[in-house]
Subunit: 201 residues, 2 copies
Amino acid sequence: MRADRRDLPPTTSNSLRLTGTSYAVLTLLHHLGEATPYDLKQALERSIANFWPVPHTTFYAEPERLQQGGYLTVRQEAGGRKRKLYALTPTGEAALREWADSPEVSRSQLRDEGTLKIFAGADPRVIFTQQRQWRAQKLIELEGYLDNLRDSEHAAAIRATLLTGIAYERALIEMIDRFLSEGSSFLQDADASARPLDAKG
Amino acid sequence: MRADRRDLPPTTSNSLRLTGTSYAVLTLLHHLGEATPYDLKQALERSIANFWPVPHTTFYAEPERLQQGGYLTVRQEAGGRKRKLYALTPTGEAALREWADSPEVSRSQLRDEGTLKIFAGADPRVIFTQQRQWRAQKLIELEGYLDNLRDSEHAAAIRATLLTGIAYERALIEMIDRFLSEGSSFLQDADASARPLDAKG
DNA sequence: GCTTGATAGTTCGTCCCGTACTATACAGAT
DNA sequence: ATCTGTATAGTACGGGACGAACTATCAAGC
């Protein structure tokens, strides 16, 4: 009989698991200095939300967790909304650096209800038309953030993130336009789309 | 004083919420007829996994839920692994059709730790190089599924899904290659990337 | 009949998300 | 001064989703 996980010693109190979302919070705090959950939410929307969506409620729960793990400090306003102001501790700073400096990343993943509907038999043109609109809209939004980006110590990283998002949206809009002009041949004839690209790496 | 949600009548017993993952399961069963959780997992990997990832454990839990809601039937093998075989009920079939036929879809969303690291200051070249490899690999995988796709009632939808995945990966590989050959100008100079595209719709 | 690797299924804890809700601030109307 | 609407800010909570770790079955080759 093999050892059961319940035979293992209990995990020590402050070893909480750091997820991608944890690092998103740590990075935002690194950029902003001391900040409230609401500040974090705002900053995320203007930078990494396109590649790492975080619902606003998480910005209230997650810093709490991180603070309990010793990665953040808190202090609370006396009056008014009694907002909580979080900031990185040296531990938090170190954890962030260690993660950011290691080259391993988990695989990119996509969640796209439109393609799920195509899989279920929906008309691809309807889905793609909708998506083109959203992507064009998002593209404008990201370009706006880029134009309003102010110089700071971290502007280069934010800029790189925004440029990546812009390139991503453009690439997909191009792809959609190609499909929409090809019409239904996309669906009927697999060989109609030439394959000049394929894998090099 | 406003009405509290606890004043509302309790939700009826079989109104369970159908999520995207629920519809993925329903669609797979529609394609496969009667199937085990393992069958579902396999079929997903060869079709929609690229746009709607589902961990294998979900294929054991989710059909159970759906069956309790009256969307599926179950029967269990007598001996051996006692596998459970699920199939759509008319209710399930109807729910699937209703969903697939309505044009509304939630927004596509991406979860990409690589870009999160770029946001945290990592070198984009390292990240993009890694991603190019994965995408090239995925492209080959998807092309393999397409080549081995057998004719069936539902082949057109599966084909459309695979072609969408292939076009998606190609578009992003092109984008990455463009970046990698441009070198660091991407990072230094926002105007270096011309903008012939932008929003039409 | 044993070993090995592929196939198949389960348990569990926690993360994470969305919905709905509450509360505060402030500007303009009355 | 108070009311009303809107933007800003924060909270509660239930349950879906996820992934690590594990167990079990089967088929093939020796």
